[in-house]
Symmetry: C2
Subunit: 219 residues, 2 copies
Amino acid sequence: MKQAKISEAVVRRLPIYLQVLNELYNREVQTVSSQELGLKLDLNPAQIRKDLAYFGDFGRKGIGYDVSYLIEKIQQILKLDQRINVALVGAGNLGHALCNYNKYSKDNMKIVAVFDDHQNKIGTMINNLTILPMDKLKETVQENNIRIGIITVPGPEAQNVANQFVEAGIEGILNFAPAILRLPEHIRIHHADFTRELLSLAYYLEKERNEQENGAVVD
Amino acid sequence: MKQAKISEAVVRRLPIYLQVLNELYNREVQTVSSQELGLKLDLNPAQIRKDLAYFGDFGRKGIGYDVSYLIEKIQQILKLDQRINVALVGAGNLGHALCNYNKYSKDNMKIVAVFDDHQNKIGTMINNLTILPMDKLKETVQENNIRIGIITVPGPEAQNVANQFVEAGIEGILNFAPAILRLPEHIRIHHADFTRELLSLAYYLEKERNEQENGAVVD
DNA sequence: TAGATTGTTAATCGATTAACAATC
DNA sequence: TAGATTGTTAATCGATTAACAATC
């Protein structure tokens, strides 16, 4: 309802709610109940209600939630109602992919600057953005009110890039590099390192496809 | 120590341990304590010890953990000691990026087939892989013992691709598309949808302005 | 031996779920 | 009104952390 300490688990579910709500909106569904959302997302309806109730009374008893109203509210909570400028370092394939995503995004987060330190890339274009050299990072971040930095460089370079982002005054970092980063307390960092997801996925595979008698791990 | 129910939270930390251990290994560090790991990863040392103890007695009292031994053990736990073949659908920039990663990976997970349904892409190469049409998916998966599928197509196509993976007999899916997927119970799905990370990151911006510390708000 | 650090049990903390009065 | 569904409190479940005997 009011200000309580919102746990990270709750915040991480908000974008998921937003995703399914957008799908409903596109199908012109007006109203949805926590039960229906729970079914779609494999979540407990009570959890969904509780999550949303941290931020306000968005639903109507006996009715459910108005889809477009709830979308609007969650966008506000996630600060997507304000323009948030993003910079990206690392103009490889992954960097390209993220910049492309830009074009289709209808929310207010935009990659507004791309950096790389390879001479052959500097000055070339990704979509409508010119790739800039790293020594332009700080001034660009500051002049354009850039608040989030995305790192798509190889692992060993990631810490260095992160440091430069911090130095430039960024508030949050989204890191795609397979690396552990050390950052000051006040910088928020999220990881989008797909190797983590891929390796943990492997854990859940069946024991062995080829039935080759792996002795139980006992010593 | 033995077989207990391992929680997902534990499994998701294993790749992170592996990452930091690999860094230590590269710096030729022989031994590491849970305390040191905890410092690097911002995790409680007791948690790290407990996580590892689910799978065996890997450490030595008074000494710590042997880095290369622990790497080996975690790789076994994650099934990285066996070859795991992966297929990827969606040969865009993101697909390219993941295939490139392949080259540098020294573990046993490999993307061995790439699919796309755009005529202009079919037959062209990514690294050493020829892009195949979707109607070759099932036979390729089955003939090559492919167990994991990666989805890097646009959101609206993702469910369809997922269905085809399931049909082909895949065990797990890593989904990069911004979409909610419905899948049978027995299929493990992990999300690498960066929009989720990016939107939840936005939530944490601008903390400073909200810093007005109003104590216990009760009504 | 003295110091360090594990593996593990017990205590704490936090998150999820159930239940239900309020109410549309 | 009767049926549905919220917001919220209380109960449950699970995960994290502290503490410490065992031992290298």
